[in-house]
Symmetry: C2
């Protein structure tokens, strides 16, 4: 990826379309640059109708500038953008920021202009940011390449890097500065003609002033680039927290109409996020709650949570949220218990959750000592202090206590401000960097994500370089292999199957069955018939030659009746699966954003109803294969629950890895695979795909 340092820390900037007409975009951008930024490099104002503006010289064109600027900020009207872009490219400007709207988002004409803009940039080797975006906001170095009048209001420096597409929601995150969070850099990439959110995630992964990366996505244009960027962040130990719009059809439709970009499948997106350690959140306030917890502290090895409060009901409510989130309440050390016992009254709850009772709330020294005693306990990862009420002075004192206790320990103390009354106590917590979440559930969710990321980070292979494969354009034509051919390819790929044989005649069928032993299954063999059962093309449990001969006649009749057009290759004869065992399924599809994705889960009649499936982008590592198997809700059934023998998990993981290898060796060819059902037996009995569908891409040559 291109080094973006000169875009984010330019030595010189040209503002093309600088204006002094009040409220114009050119004027607002100029004001941000001259009055609200701390920029010490060269600024060139370009405006052909002026010679001077605010005491600075104006240049008529980019071509006329005395030097080539690192960045050209283009704010001329849409009709003039292409010409300016050409000029910039010709001059060798390395980075252009186009704030102007009226491109891809504005109908066909705009789309054509956008295509041309991209061509100009590519031809000139110029990297392009925008168009249709509010600009680039470098808070830590106080440089606003943006027309937004909000720029001077949202300048709390900090360790969070924010990369968004749209500007509205991005600004919402910036306004969380009023809750005390600090954001060092905000890139809002608009139509993403060239530079994408992923480019900025990649930049932030290496930027020394950014510790936590936050991103808001409506669509991912380049899956491989995104994966590379978040992988880089993981390798550098920086969490990436993402809100991806498009989890429902409504959201996908709205995002598409907003950004005209593919939103992709929400399930695949979420699976890739999990796979890459990206922390996915469901709402924009959760983005802020979660990011700030990461900014305050790395996820701890001790996952236990402590709750400290003076209200019994609040203690119970918070404990409940901790429990339903699957988190653990820490067990205090004997030393902590002793300290609390000595400090707090007899009727207080000393166990976690600690409920001091309201009676001692007025004794600040006691609160500070007891809260500190809890916070330094080595068995825990964080302390939640749910504040149900704003009780004026009492709450101010509590805030003061929290601030003091935090100074004495590294374990983060997380106050939750639950009340709609937001007085001085709230303000003090905000000013001291606590950015209190506003609800118990949301705070606990942030902790849950923090803890889960810690687990992911400690899991084998987390942050290791990931392979990705360039994504092909959608296939123009595909075809289904016959089951016999599909199984031949699977066998060649080292995948175990039941004995089976393609029998072109009835007598060859009987001979094959005699050789492999009864009972057998007989299935119609025809490339044109994929859903064999639906047309009566499958007979199971055939016990002898007689039954097999009958089956031959029945199946052939049914096939001729339902599909008189199909070429029938005979019957595929296969040994029946052993009794017992369970039915699973393994599928592979090609995602337009992330390429081949494997779906694995419960098979048979429950597949679609219970949707107990898990997904991974391919290729699969051994660790991921093991994780997939263990992620299924019905994993206990494979692991010996309900008196069942433990299933052959080793064979199952091997199967998943071999399918992954097979697909990767045929990445240009394979569009889709469906092994369903896959029979799994007890340990040592193996795993056997009983049916196999492979759909491959038909290349132009092959079609001719």
């Amino acid at each position: 990826m291109t080094d973006l340092s000169r875009l984010i820390h330019p030595r010189s900037i040209a503002l093309v379309g600088a204006s002094d007409r009040t409220h114009s975009i050119g004027e607002r951008t100029l004001t941000n640059l001259l009055d609200h930024s701390d920029f010490e490099g060269d600024i060139y104002l370009v405006n052909p109708t002026k010679t001077e503006m605010r005491g600075r010289r104006c240049w008529p064109s980019v071509a006329s500038l005395p030097a080539t600027p690192d960045v050209a900020v283009i704010v001329v009207p849409a009709s003039g953008v292409l010409t300016v872009a050409e000029e910039c490219a010709a001059r060798g400007v390395p980075f252009a920021i186009v704030l102007t709207s009226g491109f891809g988002e504005a109908g066909e004409e705009g789309e054509r202009a956008q295509v041309r803009l991209k061509e100009i940039a590519e031809a000139g080797g110029m990297r392009l940011y925008g168009p249709n975006c509010p600009g680039l906001t470098n808070v830590n170095h106080r440089l606003g390449l943006t027309f937004s009048p909000s720029f001077p209001h949202d300048l709390v420096k900090g360790p969070i890097g924010l990369a968004t597409q749209g500007g509205g929601l991005g600004r919402n995150v910036m306004q969380a500065m009023d809750r005390g969070i600090g954001i060092g850099l905000w890139a809002s990439t608009g139509n993403e003609v060239d530079l994408q959110v992923a480019d900025f995630i990649h930049y932030m992964a290496d930027a020394p002033d950014i510790k936590v990366i936050v991103t808001l996505l409506e669509g991912i244009k380049d899956g491989a680039k995104f994966v590379a960027a978040v992988n880089r962040a993981a390798a550098n130990g920086k969490p990436v927290i993402a809100l991806k719009v498009g989890k429902s059809e409504y959201g996908q439709k709205a995002a598409q109409s907003h950004t005209a970009s593919l939103t992709g499948s929400a399930e695949v997106n979420s699976a890739v996020f999990r796979q890459c350690g990206v922390i996915e959140v469901d709402d924009i306030d959760e983005l802020v709650d979660t990011a700030w917890l990461f900014a305050r502290a790395e996820p701890p090895a001790s996952e236990g949570v402590a709750i400290y409060t003076s209200s019994g009901g609040t203690a119970a409510l918070t404990a409940d949220a901790v429990g339903t989130a699957g988190l653990t309440l820490a067990q205090f050390t004997p030393h902590t218990r002793e300290l609390l016992g000595a400090l707090l009254p007899a009727y207080a709850a000393l166990d976690n959750p600690v409920d001091t009772t309201a009676a001692v709330l007025s004794d600040a020294a006691l609160i500070e000592k007891s809260l500190s005693a809890v916070a330094v306990d080595p068995h825990l990862g964080c302390v939640i202090v749910p504040i149900a009420l704003d009780y004026g002075d009492t709450t101010i004192q509590l805030a003061r206590t929290i601030i003091a206790a935090q100074k004495g320990c590294a374990t983060p103390i997380l106050p939750i401000w639950m009340s709609d009354r937001m007085g001085e106590g709230y303000r003090m917590l905000v000013e001291n960097g606590f950015a209190p979440p506003r609800s118990v559930g949301k705070a606990v969710k942030a902790i849950q994500r923090w803890v889960e990321y810690g687990r992911w980070k400690r899991s084998p292979g987390a942050g290791a370089p990931m392979k990705t494969v360039a994504v092909l354009a959608p296939a123009r034509a595909t075809r289904s292999l016959s089951e016999a051919e599909a199984k031949r390819q699977l066998l060649a790929a080292g995948i175990d199957l039941l004995p089976h044989a393609l029998a072109p005649t009835q007598e060859e069928a009987v001979a094959a069955a005699d050789a492999m032993g009864y009972p057998v299954v007989a299935k119609i063999a025809s490339e044109q018939i994929v859903h064999k059962s639906d047309i009566g093309g499958v007979k199971v449990g055939l016990q002898d030659a007689d039954q097999l001969r009958h089956a031959w006649t029945d199946i052939m009749e049914a096939a001729l009746r339902h599909r008189p057009d199909a070429t029938l290759d005979g019957l595929l004869i296969e040994k029946m699966a052993p009794r017992g065992g369970l039915e699973l399924m393994v599928g592979v599809t090609r995602d337009p954003v992330f390429g081949h994705v494997m779906t694995f889960g419960l098979g048979g009649i429950y597949v679609e109803i219970l949707r107990d499936v898990t997904r991974r982008m391919l290729p699969l590592s051994a660790g991921e294969a093991a994780a997939m198997v263990r992620e299924m809700r019905c994993f206990p059934l494979l692991d010996g629950a309900r008196g069942r023998p433990p299933a052959d998990l080793q064979a199952l993981e091997t199967l998943l890895l071999r399918i992954s290898d097979f697909v990767m060796q045929n990445t240009d060819r394979i569009e889709e695979m469906d092994l369903n059902p896959v029979w799994i037996g007890a340990r040592g009995e193996g795993v056997l795909p009983l049916d196999a569908v492979i759909i491959e891409r038909v290349t132009e040559g092959a079609r001719a």
Copy 2:
């Protein structure tokens, strides 16, 4: 239930323990009553050490009062409470409020005092509120029988009635007045020696100034009373919104240590709530968001939601939340579309979600007209206006527009304040009664609950009087009936079963099987052996007399080996279930709070893993039986999904109802039932419990 009118609207009040010592409970209560209440009845101050206080006469005792007050508020120290209570009871005081702590929550001595307090009240026919509570706050009539210094700060009148146990969380809801919500009455019942939350729900169900009932529960003491109260509310068309702590083990433990009350099973609680139309929420902010939506408008018949915003990203985020919540985006009428087309620029999104784009945000008239056009569309139930940002004057204008548009229509307009910047625009919305939720997800959740309640209210039988059965004390001893006896009772209750016979000898077994026809199942018959499969006591698929004889020998050997102590009655011979069909389960347990509860769901090996079950308190109505069946996640499998024949739903519903009747006719006797598996065939093939366990209570007489 007792009429509580005189407690909530007393004509006269005695304050026993009135004090002028600053910050004492007696002084704070006195101040609330004299300075901050609008009470025009008689006030009697009782304090044996004073003759006068704040210019009012003091009486030495309750006995010495010139008249019997409607309410005695008792604030004397714990050691004096019992004496005062005796005096009040002797004087015939109808209602006593005990604010003092130091009872059930404070160790064994306190518990003993609490038992005595209860006896005094019961013996004197005096109703008791408390002890260990902050008191009773009648906001709509401005009467504070409470020591809380917050009383004068939280006085926004309104249609919400609040009934809580603990005081802390209740006060949190009261502080939501700062967001503009109005709460007419707050009862905080503390240790609930006598009056419970349910009594106040019942009162509020009839109170003309209360429209929406909100309750916070840590434990329900009397299930039948609670059901009667919420049933009354439903009959009067008032929604009850509940937050019940104790959904996780942690929460249950913390609630128990706080209130020393049984929290009951969270699953049963939630099922009873659903059954009674109680709207259950998961967090305390959700309580407020949801209650206020109900206070603003009844759930509409048109469930469609409209989204109106000026930010494309926000539109997509909100549409996503609507979609994932299972809500519907309304389809605008052609008239609305026309209006919007005429008003908004070409590049705006006119379809729902409406995205005006930020370009027109400054045109207040246009925003008001277009928002109004949306809000009066007859196809929708509410309009969400997500406000992502506080943009100062622009946002003030938007707030003004929302206020104006709401005046012109009945459909509620629901602004969401998403930003942490809370300026003048926010304040205006608060002052005009919009109480904006603070996150998209939370707002949509409130709408979801509102819409679902509307559906429940329109469902047949909703709000009809519910039968409840007095809950028995836990059984001292129970015993399992033999399968043969259990099945005899089921048959007698009109429940279909497969042909079966108890065979005391091998030859009788063969004769029975010959008579019913093979294949058969053979199961050990012994009252002592409940888990028959675990000891090898079941053989299935026996095809002839020979196999049956072998099975006899094997089973008897296994039984003798594993349970040499058991009395063996022979084998239960039963015809095999037909092929095909699915396995379900029906169970009945006795809940300590709500009595008999039915659990119904998927049977076989998936029961415990997938937990696809639903529950109802018994007795069951026909409508509830039908609803239970349709609530299962795997219902599509019963309804003909995946090419399966539709199952015999009618027989299934009949089975559930007959089991309910059977339990109700034996309510004192039956402790538990477990029919698992229950075989269900295709339409007309019926439903057949294959195994049956009935556990009954052993009465003292029967044991002897």
